[in-house]
């Protein structure tokens, strides 16, 4: 009975907007990525020469930063999963009446600006903070070891900043598990670990997949943590793209790097989702 045109009319303004300001820019970015500088032109002037060599040049020149981006993002994702899983489990199964309140607590740190929190970590882990002197006095780290401006600090900052992205989807899928399935597993003489491995974990897989993606994707493209908590040797691909744009005005290289980053992430995500075998993403 409903008019056939209605859904399209509803979609039109939003998709028109997304087409103009998301699809079109991506197409334009693809065009920029094969341009070269105009001979004798001003800085920032480029012409289309379909130079696909740009991709190879950009990748070879920045392969260390690429490697670092994916390594850091991977470690941060694994750490976040390890921290968030028990937390989501605790909220879902032991939260009781406080469940909703605890969920608010998970999201609450979000409300203090992302950058303020990162700067706060920088100062907490810094020389004037309380962590470094305490660890030194306890002999856990040597007198000359610092925590800020290290890859450790960058990964830690990323783990911290993306933790809510991991916790919420995990909670959503763990909360949907019927506790009786766990009881049944116990009744069938499975111990706690077997129950977790064979019942809880498989049932929470959609949350694991969603959470790891929501952490990994922004982490791989992030450059704020590396800029605030790192040093010149912890630069990620995001830092390179940023400086190519703003400092060197090398748009083609920045575009080629952006495109490579996006392509690698999309491929990894597709493979991962296929392997994990869940369609419950969107």
């Amino acid at each position: 009975m409903r008019k056939i045109g209605t859904p399209y009319l509803l979609l039109l303004p939003g998709f028109g907007f997304l087409f103009t300001f998301f699809i079109l820019p991506i197409i334009n970015l693809a065009q920029t990525s094969t341009q070269t500088a105009v001979g004798g032109g001003d800085t920032g002037q480029y012409e289309q020469t379909l130079r696909f060599q740009n991709y190879i040049d950009a990748f070879v020149e920045n392969r260390a930063q690429f490697g670092r981006s994916f390594a850091y993002a991977l470690i941060a994702t694994i750490l976040a999963l390890a921290i968030a899983y028990p937390l989501a489990y605790a909220i879902a199964f032991k939260g009781g009446k406080l469940k909703n309140f605890m969920l608010v607590l998970v999201v609450a740190p979000f409300f203090t600006s992302f950058l303020l929190r990162t700067v706060a970590w920088k100062q907490i882990l810094g020389e004037e903070g309380f962590v470094v002197p305490t660890l030194r006095n306890l002999g856990i780290i040597s007198q000359s070891t610092t925590l800020t401006s290290t890859s450790f600090a960058v990964v830690m900052g990323m783990t911290y900043n993306f933790l809510p992205f991991m916790t919420l989807p995990l909670y959503a899928s763990i909360d949907r598990i019927d506790p009786r399935t766990l009881e049944a597993s116990g009744d069938l003489y499975a111990n706690g670990f077997t129950t977790f491995r064979k019942v809880t974990l498989p049932l929470s897989m959609p949350g694991v997949v969603a959470g790891t993606l929501l952490t990994f994707i922004p982490a791989a493209g992030d450059y704020v943590n590396a800029a605030i908590l790192g040093n010149p040797n912890t630069k990620m691909i995001g830092n390179v793209i940023e400086s190519r744009y703003f400092k060197i005005v090398d748009y083609p290289t920045a575009a080629a790097l952006s495109f490579t980053l996006m392509a690698v992430i999309l491929i990894l995500v597709t493979v991962y989702v296929r392997k994990a075998g869940t369609e419950e993403l969107v």
Binding site: L18, P86, L115, Y223, V282
Partner: protein, 280 residues
């Protein structure tokens, strides 16, 4: 008296065993306390240092003062940046909530040709790294000779907020009981009345949640903003650029206020939601 009965009926368990048993049983709760502590360390730090009598650089504790809270605009640029962030946030929230809700109704309520492509188009911006979104949009603006600034930033924020609005509102639409609408139709409400008096009020909490999410995403965004805002300063941008020389304590005041404000909104929302549920 009661102590004696206890001693008589319960076999004696050594305290250490009792403690370890209690820890074993509550391990996951103890863990949750630690995890929450970890989550709140930088928030607590930011709050504490908002009271620092710091002068220019807010790096070392120099004594307690309320001056920063009395005069949050004391540091130059902080409040200009904040005002920009709020303006951009409101505009981006309004537009993205309207556009996103329409898409959510189309995808959540109708089956039509191209529905799965629509889902993909919604998913793609969320799967694209922010730096790519920011850089590509800036390239487009440069091609059309549009200078980055206030409105390009609003457009950029609407663009990345839409998907999150769609996903949030769609989840709410999916959880609706279709019988409620059927009941309205049975009671001779026409399509428009059913939508206005039954569907929309039921979806409203989802739209409100989506708007809140959009505002916090917009307000907190740095990467995409940094690419498209040109000389317009926003609150996150202000912190980023002043991070090297130490951010003024007034920024901590604003960060902490935002934290308490948002917490109050969320908790009020939950209480109202619970009351409604009880009265229904």
């Amino acid at each position: 008296m009661s102590q004696k009965i206890k001693d008589a009926t319960i076999p004696h368990i050594p305290t250490s065993a009792r403690i370890s048993r209690w820890i074993g049983r509550n391990l996951i709760r103890i863990y949750a306390v630690f995890a929450f502590t970890y989550l709140f360390i930088p928030v607590a730090y930011t709050f504490a240092f908002s009271f620092n009598n710091s002068g220019k650089s807010n790096l070392i504790w120099q004594g307690f003062t309320l001056n920063n809270w009395r005069n949050p605009c004391g540091a130059p640029e902080v409040c200009t940046a904040l005002a920009n962030s709020i303006k951009i946030g409101f505009l981006a929230t309004t537009f993205s909530t309207i556009l996103g809700t329409m898409i959510a109704f189309a995808i959540g309520r109708y089956s039509f040709k191209g529905r799965s492509t629509s889902n993909l188009l919604i998913f793609l911006p969320m799967a694209t790294p922010e730096i790519v979104l920011g850089a590509s949009l800036l390239s487009l603006f440069l091609v059309f000779k549009i200078n980055p600034g206030f409105w390009p930033t609003v457009i950029a924020h609407v663009m990345f907020c839409i998907s999150f609005v769609v996903v949030t509102v769609k989840a709410r639409i999916a959880s609706l009981d279709p019988r409620l609408e059927q009941a309205a139709m049975d009671l001779y409400a026409n399509e428009r009345e059913t939508f206005r008096r039954v569907t929309l009020p039921l979806v409203a909490p989802g739209i409100a949640a989506a708007a809140l999410l959009a505002f916090s995403l917009s307000f907190d965004d740095f990467i995409i903003t940094n690419f498209n805002s040109g000389t317009v300063n926003t609150f996150p941008k202000f912190i980023y650029t002043s991070a090297a020389r130490g951010i003024p304590a007034q920024a901590n005041v604003i960060g902490s206020s935002m934290f308490f404000l948002a917490l109050a909104i969320v908790i009020t929302g939950q209480i109202v939601g619970r009351k409604r549920k009880v009265s229904a």
